[in-house]
């Protein structure tokens, strides 16, 4: 995978590639979100087996990025989405508390 130079025209090799991740590190949800965010460049087939996540990455026909660049983008997104997941887990119940306080004078919330 990479760039093929033909008569000074750069053609990106768009062969599919695979990534294997540990489910202990990234959740399936995180993985789905990271792939979704990159749909402009890749379409992904995601599967799981015991403690592993397998992503089959297919660059889109218009994608001009090479495999290494795509992997780096995917890992960045994975890290960001897992950090977001941590925030959601740590703030889930307090978010409900805030919303409840915010609307406590409306009829939306039981007193």
């Amino acid at each position: 995978m990479g760039f093929i130079h033909m008569n000074d025209v750069i053609i990106t090799d768009r062969s599919p590639f695979e990534l294997e991740l540990s489910l202990e590190v990234y959740s399936l949800e995180t993985c789905k979100k990271a792939c979704y965010a990159l749909m402009e460049f890749v379409s992904c087939k995601i599967s799981t087996s015991s403690d592993k996540l397998l992503i089959e990455v297919h660059p889109t026909p218009d994608c001009t990025k090479g495999e290494e660049e795509l992997k780096a983008l995917l890992f960045d997104e994975l890290l960001d989405y897992s950090l977001r997941e941590t925030i959601a887990e740590k703030t889930d119940s307090i978010r409900t508390l805030i919303l409840s306080n915010a609307f406590s004078k409306s009829k939306l919330v039981d007193s």
Partner: protein, 487 residues
């Protein structure tokens, strides 16, 4: 069961608070590999490095860290000293959500589809002579005004649009008079705007506008060559007529009674400074750098495809840079889209701009009464209708009452789907509090009201503008100018 039954109370957090801090809900957005913007539900923001973000999330940010106090005062964390943090956050959140309960404030009356121009990007205009077919009647107008006053909004803004609305000036006078009569009892804050190309701006029109404090909005696409190319009139005198009209309004009604809008076409992209200078030369103090909308003739004539989002973003950024430079040199000129976003970033208020709201502003912030009595959820919705798609038609003033129109399945279902907080990608986006959703746009371009945001012009446009605004806010000189644009 209400929300209050579903969670732990404040006591349960005391253990965490005695030894560290409790994280409060927030989202983040990567601006560059080591620069992140973290934002929370009340629109406060922090600029942080990736390492700091990790410390913050992992609960290991020390009180001695330079951003600790900021994170605390802006409600990203609370510790044992933050006894009122949650109440304050809830109060700010409720204030921010308040505009939704106000419901429709902007009522657009399409009083005529006829127009003397043949603009290549126009979606709706019809030939001059078709008076009976494309003008609003008194009966339709009366029913539409009555509906507008059924809205619970304390402020009602009635905007006359076309085609060219001044081609049906008698009905404008009728609507103003009907509204004023109804308002004797209703006592709303009532405002009128005429969106016009100014060709038919007579002394009678000016006197009427002066009497009723009517605001004028017009289109000025730039210098003569661009304006006339984008907006052709049979006599090729559109530019001159617009400029004459702007001057007449300024001298008769006052400089603050007129604003102009521009639409970016492929011709505009290389003429940025000339376009902005045109506004300065005409003593205009607000400009709205708008991309071409994807509806109607704009699609048919392939105007939309002629420039892509990167080209448009560059145009916008260069425009902003030039406008800021002019401000710093002493000429006050506000870019409107930036103003709306800045107001969201720097104040607790929301300017209720239809395209930057979640749930979407369609039907909630604005509604359109077409010349024939059809009611649409937004201006774009009626443009879509002109392309043959009535998806966002709510009903007709002659056959439906207020409840039927505003609780129609199409409006309620679209509003529900337009809640960005539950849309893929938006739900995790750190810019969500400044952005919104545009279901009609996504339906028109992607065939789906939610839209795939990674492929959306709307998303890319807003991302690049908001990121750029944050960059500008870091520069003290630009910040001073931007702060003066807050609405």
């Amino acid at each position: 069961m209400g929300l209050s039954n579903k969670f732990k109370d404040l006591e349960s957090y005391s253990e965490v608070l005695s030894d560290g801090y409790q994280l409060l809900p927030f989202a983040f957005h990567k601006i560059s590999p080591d620069k992140y913007i973290a934002t929370n539900i009340v629109g406060e923001y922090l600029t942080v490095s990736r390492d700091t973000l990790k410390l913050l999330v992992n609960g290991t940010l020390l009180p001695s860290h330079p951003i600790y106090n900021d994170a605390k005062s802006k409600h990203f964390i609370m510790d044992r000293d933050s006894d009122t943090a949650l109440d304050l956050l809830a109060l700010k959140y409720r204030t921010k959500q308040h505009p939704i309960s106000e419901f429709t404030g902007l009522h657009i009356f399409v009083v005529s589809l006829r127009c003397d121009y043949t603009c290549k990007y126009c979606q709706v205009s019809r030939k001059m002579e078709d008076v009976d077919k494309f003008d609003m009647s008194e009966e339709t107008a009366r029913k539409a005004v009555a509906l507008a006053f059924e809205s619970p909004s304390k402020s009602i803004k009635i905007e006359f649009q076309g085609g060219e609305p001044l081609l049906n000036f008698p009905i404008i006078k009728f609507i103003v008079s009907e509204s004023l009569t109804l308002n004797i009892k209703e006592n709303r804050v009532l405002q009128f705007v005429i969106t016009s190309n100014l060709t038919f701006l007579s002394e009678e029109v000016l006197a009427f506008c002066k009497l009723h404090n009517i605001y004028i909005s017009t289109s000025l696409d730039g210098p003569e060559s661009i304006h006339n190319k984008n907006r052709p009139r049979p006599n090729k005198d559109g530019y001159q007529k617009t400029i004459d009209g702007i001057r007449a309004v300024q001298s008769e009604l006052g400089k603050d009674r007129i604003a102009a809008l521009m639409t970016t076409t492929s011709e505009s992209l290389s003429n940025l400074e000339g376009i902005v200078d045109e506004y300065v030369q005409n003593d205009l103090h607000a400009i709205f750098l708008r991309p071409l909308s994807p509806y109607g003739f704009a699609i048919k004539t392939k105007q939309v495809e002629k420039y892509n989002v990167d080209k448009w973003s560059n145009f916008f950024k260069q425009g902003l840079e030039y406008i800021i430079k002019l401000n710093r040199a002493g000429y006050f000129l506000r870019e409107q889209y930036t103003s709306i976003i800045l107001t969201k970033i720097l104040t607790p208020t929301d300017p209720k701009y239809v395209d930057l709201q979640s749930p979407s502003g369609i039907g909630i912030s604005a509604v359109v009464y077409n010349y024939d009595g059809d009611v649409y959820a937004s201006d774009e919705a009626r443009m879509l209708k002109e392309m043959g798609d009535e998806k966002f038609k709510l009903g007709n003033v002659h056959t439906d009452d207020y409840i039927e129109l505003f609780s129609s399945d199409i409006l309620l279902d679209t509003l529900e789907e337009s809640i960005a907080e539950s849309a893929p990608m938006c739900s995790d986006c750190g810019l969500i509090t400044y952005c919104g959703s545009d279901p009609v746009y996504h339906y028109a371009t992607q065939g789906d009201v939610v839209g795939k945001k990674p492929l959306s012009f709307y998303c890319k446009k807003n991302t690049s503008i908001i990121e750029h605004i944050f960059e500008l806010l870091e520069d003290p000189g630009s910040r001073k100018v931007l702060e003066s644009w807050v609405l």
